[in-house]
Symmetry: C4
Subunit: 252 residues, 4 copies
């Protein structure tokens, strides 16, 4: 095995495809979006990317079979728009690995003729959210304008610490290659898997790529999460009176 | 010294050997199994694998001589079945090292004609165990079926986090090379060295490879562990009344 | 992208330039100095240095565009003295990266004919400072003498732990290349961004390189910091009486 | 600069030299021994070893000049015995660096015709020591016997965790190269720099290499340490009565 080992599974012809990336991250927003697209639309696995920069680990499937941790790329069509979807259960484990894997992803994107990249993620607010804004950053001012028209918010000094990991590098390294790249970040509390934030990001994608997708399964998942949150709040409010002032004095 | 330095000690002819791996891990289960096989059967050291991905360390023997940390492979025969046993005191120290060392092990296995791999380990349950189940994961559904017939349990979503380290990669990288590979994981509390869990895994191996081995030394060791556990419990129950409620309030 | 990727932006002729380095560090002293020079003087970007040893990250500008983390080198003239200024938002993430990036910086300095290096930083004192001394270390005793005449203090066994990171290596690796290199370290409490310490370092540079620069914006920033400090002190003195002796007993 | 960069300072002819290594470690025992030899005997610097596996750091001398962190090798003669002394302020920062630097040290030792290696260190006992034993481990049983005759103790299962770092690898990698190598470890509490432990190790070296060295400066240093220990104990005994039983209940 090489440092990065790309398994070619299929080589479909794609017409002016865009790359949509959704790996695990804050609120699982990016991964929820691409999982939803893969559930709702027919897709074809085109590449598996193995690397010694991914964790030394296998995942075990429901049938008891194990498979080496990898990043997968799928081809699918959103109404008229051909798409390459990049997903997986893990990101690179080290800084060098992030750079090298992202360059490998960009090479694959190049093979398929990708000119636009949508890297998806969440941005933590630290508090419960009423209105789910989608924040953005992009490689060019033209792309910033276009995304702003689709409802994406661009705020000075946000996100404060920049954008790290695969999403950040797809934007940074993609931009250096002359690609129109953006990172779309759904606002999320940051404490929980957040299907509502994923929905907000999906709505931006619908506008940008001119397609429609059924949201019902995502809405179901949002409701389930809400019930979980309610139960936690209930439990907390029931426990509170039990803890007397005396006990609490020793917590800090 | 190269990144990985393989010392060829012997090159016996083996007939359709299987590889059994037992390195230190949860409950020391895997290592206990292969140590037991090496104690009960005659074996021949065939390879030492040194690597800068192993800790920069020597072990000191009973006679005062020191030897560089390495992984060792032994050849032995279980009744009719030729076996290559892989063991050692340490695993790789980093993710890249795990990949590279496991590939080196698979290359050695390939030299000897290995077609089946049994990677052994423990899976922590967090509580004391009455019935020692052996959980499994395998590279192919055929192998899953065969192992299930031998009493191995395959449970959905277990182990939850997948399988990490050398065992996981022998399964994942071995599977990619077209080998029939499995990881057998004895349930163990996870708190102590667990000879009973090792015995449960050995019983599966006996069925799969059609051999018999005397368990008495392992049973002795299990009894010793039980005495240790009993003494700890005794000490705890004696100490308990001493600690008043007042004292306990400050522990958490 | 290579391990280190140098983008040539411009290649101006510089006359006997010196290299001034100011990366983030203690009290942000070094970075404040070079930021001030870049604000007050006209400058030309000459190199961008990208590297997989820098964090896998993009920064987002005020217009919503993102750019890959890099180190930048600017050319500017301080009255008569040509200068190469090295700055950025991050240092290398690992020890090997520090060595390799610093060697790349020294190669660039060599291309431009740099013979003197001023690496700038802060040295933490752990207490509020009345008189801002500038401590030094240099590659040769001749350079030590010259800097001492310019008011730099050289104290036995200070800084105690040596000098780490890019500043230390510019001095150590630069010295091995036969360059006159120094690290100038403004004393600073170490708790806050410290424009006064930066001013003390700038004054040494003015003497050494025979130029003048307006300090007013730096003085404004120092005043702002002072107001921040005063507010914090005020808040602390108001909160103090609320915490009774009883409460404080449990803090430690 | 290469990964490891060896500066040749001098190339004296040495007659059947031994290598004595003393880098920082437990109780500073190894470094104290070689520092003492370098103080008491005339020596000649023969090599400086720089490496990106050492910390990215310069040390600052009393005259204000800075020098890049490195490992140094000196040649000296102990009565009749030619010796190569290896010392420095730091060890490698990572596992791979430990292997590669130690191999570089062994290559240098080979150039000078070294056939015996004495790697020096301390072994922590966790309690104050009355009689300073010197524990050993060696590459061959012959060498073990010879060292035992010189008063070195070889105890089963000690040191429990093996020997890590440069000392361990000089023994392990040196042994694989067919060199007679030993690690001599002075028992030390492990809490403080321990000149008495260093003296015990020196006495073994005197016997093994048949030389004499004046111990007075080491004895002075031991007395200074004793005064420090006494002062600490005094301060503790004075504070003790202040802490009531009630207070102590909250420490654990």
């Amino acid at each position: 095995m090489d440092e990065i080992d790309i398994e070619i599974v299929a080589n479909p012809d794609l017409e002016a495809p865009v790359l949509i990336e959704g790996l695990p991250g804050v609120g699982h927003v990016g991964k929820l979006v691409v999982e939803h697209l893969l559930e709702e639309k027919e897709s074809e696995l085109v590449r598996r990317v193995y690397s010694e920069h991914l964790p030394p680990q296998v995942g075990v499937g429901d049938d008891g079979t194990a498979s080496l941790v990898c990043i997968e790329l799928y081809a699918l069509t959103l109404d008229e728009q051909d798409v390459l979807v990049l997903t997986g259960d893990y990101q690179a484990q080290d800084s060098v690995g992030h750079y090298r894997l992202t360059n490998a992803f960009l090479d694959i994107a190049d093979e398929f003729g990708v000119e636009r990249i949508f890297a998806l993620g969440g941005v933590p607010t630290g508090e419960l959210i009423e209105e789910y804004a989608v924040l953005g950053a992009a490689a060019t001012t033209d792309f910033v304008d276009e995304l702003e028209d689709a409802g994406v918010e661009f705020r000075e000094d946000e996100p404060a610490g920049g954008i790290v990991g695969t999403s950040g590098l797809l934007l940074g390294l993609g931009g250096r290659r002359g690609l129109e790249a953006t990172c779309l970040m759904g606002e999320t509390s940051g404490y929980l898997v957040d299907p509502k934030s994923a929905q907000a990001v999906l709505e931006v994608l619908q506008t940008m790529l001119d397609f429609e997708v059924d949201f019902s399964s995502l809405e179901d998942r949002a409701e389930e999460m809400e019930e979980v949150v309610n139960k936690i709040e209930e439990m907390e409010s029931q426990q509170a009176p039990i803890a007397s002032d005396d006990d609490l004095r020793y917590i800090g």
